[in-house]
Symmetry: C2
Subunit: 194 residues, 2 copies
């Protein structure tokens, strides 16, 4: 085998994504990343081109993980709507329970933090968030086809509604330390979906 790649690319990106997710784009320095993913600047720049390049891959990785989780929920749950509930509940669980580095969605954090000074990163985050919403809508349509939700419901609007609930709940959890009521708040949100 020719010179083997020392670092597993996927593994490295995953570690980087976790650090970016925790600290945000600007507060994460290349020195921080070097320590966290155990690579030297030369290797990082050879592999990813720039801090922005690595961040793009991190955003993609984060989204792919979420999509995979969604598919996993669909395989497990007894119906599309239950899959959606399972997905959202497992995403919203406190970080200390599922190892996530922040309560807030990484894409939302990024969209909130960045400005036009990083236009392409901002655009990518918006695009990925939109992709997640469309994924939700796809499952909602499946639920509609199976009669779980009314045929007259606007699945696009329902997907928007759920997206807003999840964004709001996660940011709210970040802002409040004691959140025993979260489970009920999630149920409240879902009771609106018919």
């Amino acid at each position: 085998m020719v010179n083997q790649i020392k670092h597993d690319r996927e593994e490295v990106i995953k570690k980087a994504a976790n650090l970016f997710w925790e600290k945000g784009f600007h507060a994460t320095s290349m020195r921080n990343l070097q320590d966290h993913i155990d690579m030297r600047p030369g290797s990082i720049y050879a592999a990813f081109g720039s801090k922005e390049g690595l961040f793009k891959e991190a955003l993609q990785c984060y989204t792919n993980t979420n999509i995979a989780l969604m598919q996993q929920c669909e395989a497990q749950a007894s119906s599309p709507l239950n899959a959606l509930k399972l997905f959202i509940k497992s995403i919203i669980k406190r970080p200390q329970e599922n190892g996530a580095p922040s309560e807030v969605c990484m894409l939302v954090k990024t969209v909130s933090e960045l400005t036009d000074e990083n236009a392409d990163l901002l655009a990518l985050s918006k695009q990925l968030l939109n992709m997640m919403e469309q994924g939700i809508e796809t499952v909602l349509k499946r639920a509609q086809a199976q009669g779980e939700i009314s045929a007259s419901s606007d699945t696009r609007r329902l997907a928007q509604f759920l997206q807003i609930q999840v964004i709001g709940l996660r940011a709210y959890m970040r802002a409040n330390d004691d959140n025993d009521c979260i489970d009920q708040l999630i149920d409240d949100a879902f009771s609106c979906i018919q």
Copy 2:
């Protein structure tokens, strides 16, 4: 009159708050601030002590403005619940319409961006967000006393619900460029309040 203070403190803090609100704490450099508030480093540090010190005042200023807006809405509207609707609608309106530097609430942005590395700023933001929620609850109680909402409703939970809606809606607007549907989404959220 002894040497008059050249810069109006309130005005300076308001300008600084707008820049911090737009760019976030980390992405706003002292050089950016110097240009934006037209003060030199010496004067800034004499008046505020540090970047963190100025940011604290900016957070307070932002919150005070929101509280003032809430009171103004109560004076204008025909009932407590209508005042709340008016307040939330005027907050959620797109930044290009009301001059706000970002769609996202400054306190939420801060809570989302910062980590324990700026523990006191994080704590202050959480505290101010909580204060806003309590303000909402106060108005809800007034609405309850006037029979606008059911006497059996849990105003604490309703305030939480509204807080989550506003947080979610604003972040959602930041992430989506075309948002003609926002007014309807706001009405949807309020239709749950009984």
